[in-house]
Symmetry: C2
Subunit: 195 residues, 2 copies
DNA sequence: GATAAAGTCGAACCATGGTTCAGCTTACTT
DNA sequence: AAGTAAGCTGAACCATGGTTCGACTTTATC
C-alpha cells in the first residue's frame, strides 16, 4: 500500500543512515539542526536527503514519529505492569517522571511533547499513547488516587510545556507542583523532595 | 549618571516613535518581528534604529522592560487591595488569570513571562514584581489559602510555560489545573468551569 | 559488459533578516 | 546666515539555512 517502488540496494542503505543520523542530530541539537549537519553526520550529500524526504519538515516528522512511538511503548509497558497488579498512580507518576527527565536530555523528546496535543501526522502511535494513557487514568481514578475529572487532554496540556533548560532539581520541583493538583490526597502524593 | 549627551530635538522625537512602534509590533507579532517592520511602523529608516539601539536584542529588551513594569504594577495594585482588606488568595488568582489572558493576546507578555525566571536585564522592575508577589504569597499562606511551602520561584516556574496558542477554554482549564496544586482546600479553590 | 534507469553529489540558488556605512539632511551654535 | 556636528537614509552587505538541478556514479537488467 505504502509501497513506492522497489528501492535500489544502496538507496535502502542510505535511507537507514539518514534516519539514524537525523535521529542522532535531532536528539542532540533539537529540530533546528541544519540539513547540512544531518547530511554530514550521515556521510551523504544534502541532495540525497531530498531524494528520500521532499522537505526538511518531512524528515523531522519521520524522526518525531519514532519518539512518539517510544513514548507510546513506555505507557503501554506501564499499563501492562498495572494489569499485573501494579498501582496505577505509581505507574502514572513514574511515566511522567521518566518523560520529564527524557525531555531534559533529549531535545527531540522535548519537541515531541509539545507536538503531542496538536497537529500530528503520526496518528497511529499517538492513538496508542492516548488509549494506554486513558487506561492508566481510568484505573488511577477508580483507585481514588487521581481526581475524577482529569482527562488525557489535561495531561497533555500540562506536559506540553515541560521546563527543560533548567537544573534537575527545578524539574523535580515542577513535577511535584503539578502532581499536587492531580492527586486528591493533597500532599500525600508527594514523594519528591521539595525545592 | 546614565546621561549620554544632550540629544537633538528630532532625535528624542524619533526615539519615542521607535519605542512606540517597537512596543506595538512586538505586541502584535512577538519578538521575532523584523527590524524593517519596526522601522516602517515608526516611519523611520532601519539605520535610525541602530543609532538608538546598538542591536536588535537591546531594542527588544527595552520593550520587554516596559511589559515587566506593567506586570509589576499589576501585582503591586493587587497588594494594595489586600492591604485595604481584600483576600490575598483572590487577588493572587485574579492576577494570574489576568496574566494568562494577557499572554494569550499579547505576544510580548508571553515572551516576558518566559523571561521572568531567567537572565533579565531589568533588575529594578523584576524586583518590584518579586517582592510584591512574595508579599501576596505570604498573606495567602497565613490565611491558609495557599500551601505553606510555595515560593515566588514556584509561581514563576509554573507560569513560565503558559499555554498561549490555544482556545480560551483551554487556558482556563490550565489555570484550574495549576490552582488545584496550590490551594490546600482542594477543589474548593475551583471557581473556573472545567473543560 | 553494455545500456538505461535510479541514485548521488555538491555547488549554486534563493529567501530571510540582522547589520553597516557613505552620502545627504537637519538642528543647534556663534 | 554660515558652519559643523549630529542625525537620518536605504541600498548594499553578510550570514544562515532550506532547496534545486545538471553532471556524474552506481545498481540492476538483458
Amino acid at each position: 500500500m505504502t509501497e513506492g517502488r522497489t528501492l535500489r540496494a544502496d538507496a535502502v542503505r542510505n535511507r537507514k543512515k539518514i534516519l539514524a543520523a537525523a535521529r542522532e542530530q535531532v536528539t542532540a541539537h533539537g529540530p533546528d539542526v541544519g540539513m547540512d549537519e544531518i547530511a554530514t553526520a550521515a556521510g551523504v550529500a544534502v541532495g540525497t536527503l531530498y531524494r528520500h524526504f521532499p522537505t526538511k519538515t518531512d524528515l523531522v516528522a519521520a524522526v518525531m514519529e519514532e519518539f512518539v512511538a517510544r513514548i507510546a511503548d513506555d505507557i503501554e509497558a506501564a499499563c501492562g505492569r498495572v494489569a499485573a497488579g501494579g498501582r496505577a498512580w505509581d505507574e502514572l507518576t513514574g511515566f511522567l517522571a521518566r518523560l520529564i527527565e527524557a525531555a531534559a536530555t533529549d531535545q527531540a523528546i522535548k519537541a515531541a511533547t509539545q507536538t503531542l496535543g496538536a497537529v500530528p501526522d503520526d496518528k497511529a502511535d499517538e492513538d496508542r499513547a492516548s488509549t494506554a494513557l486513558a487506561n492508566l487514568i481510568r484505573t488511577a481514578q477508580s483507585d481514588g488516587d487521581l481526581h475524577p475529572d482529569i482527562s488525557v487532554a489535561d495531561i497533555y496540556l500540562l506536559f506540553s510545556s515541560v521546563p527543560t533548560d533548567c537544573p534537575p532539581t527545578t524539574r523535580t520541583r515542577w513535577l511535584t507542583l503539578v502532581l499536587f493538583g492531580l492527586n486528591p490526597h493533597g500532599r500525600a502524593g508527594d514523594r519528591t523532595s521539595a525545592r
